[in-house]
Symmetry: C2
Subunit: 117 residues, 2 copies
DNA sequence: TCTATAGTTCGGGAAAATGGAACTATTGAA
DNA sequence: TTCAATAGTTCCATTTTCCCGAACTATAGA
């Protein structure tokens, strides 16, 4: 099994990020990893929005997110620990991920209502 | 020739926008339309970054941008006038397009240095 | 009416995504 | 140790999507 490839942050391409997040399953996975306060395994997403995702497809989705520079994956025993690289991406493309995740929230009706006192 | 379809702004999907802009040719076309102060024709983009784009492909690219809700296309005589729908999209997904276009600028080394006077 | 121009549509080949089956790596128990 | 179980990966056939040449449509002007 070849080692996992993680691009250096300055090799991260906007095109790859947009492509990775243009898939609804990957967008879901990424937003949940980004929101989580501890690493998430791949199998944590064996179903997304009541749809079962075959594990070969899941593996591909994680690879796309990883190679786009959005997540970091590290083997921990038998499972994989995935964490987001939001902070790094924010350094390279300021405001990009917050805007996309905000839009994602708008679309799913989860927008945090601003404190309009 | 069937009439051109333009989605209503509240039917615009984040997924479609990200997909549309994840292609380098479309990203170029869109940023130039968005930056222009007058409508752009399709044939204005018959070559992008020194690469010739066949007109059947161009037509498809414009269709993807249009159906994603990013541009408005209107026949004007023999040609097509394309304008951006940035303002509408901004209303639906605040900050999204500025962030993507900012990232695009970062990647192409065209970043506008903020007036840190 | 004829010609030129600007785009669209069609259709076939190329490339990418999907998912089942087989494989690999690690753990823990017998 | 070996064996079984678990978590992911890789392979490969099928399906879907993308690309672009060729044919077509629509409009303008001579």
């Amino acid at each position: 099994m070849r080692p996992l490839f993680h691009p250096s942050i300055h090799d991260v391409r906007l095109e790859a990020i947009l492509h990775a997040l243009s898939d609804p399953v990957r967008a879901r996975i990424f937003t949940q990893i980004a929101a989580a306060d501890c690493p998430k395994t791949c199998s944590a997403f064996s179903s997304v929005d009541d749809r079962t995702i075959p594990k070969s497809s899941l593996s591909q989705h994680f690879k796309v997110l990883r190679e786009a520079g959005l997540i970091h994956s590290e083997r921990q025993g038998v499972e994989m620990h995935n964490t987001s690289r939001c902070a790094e991406v924010e350094g390279r493309f300021p405001g990009l991920l917050p805007a996309i995740m905000g839009a994602h929230a708008v679309e799913h009706g989860l927008e945090v209502t601003p404190p309009t006192a």
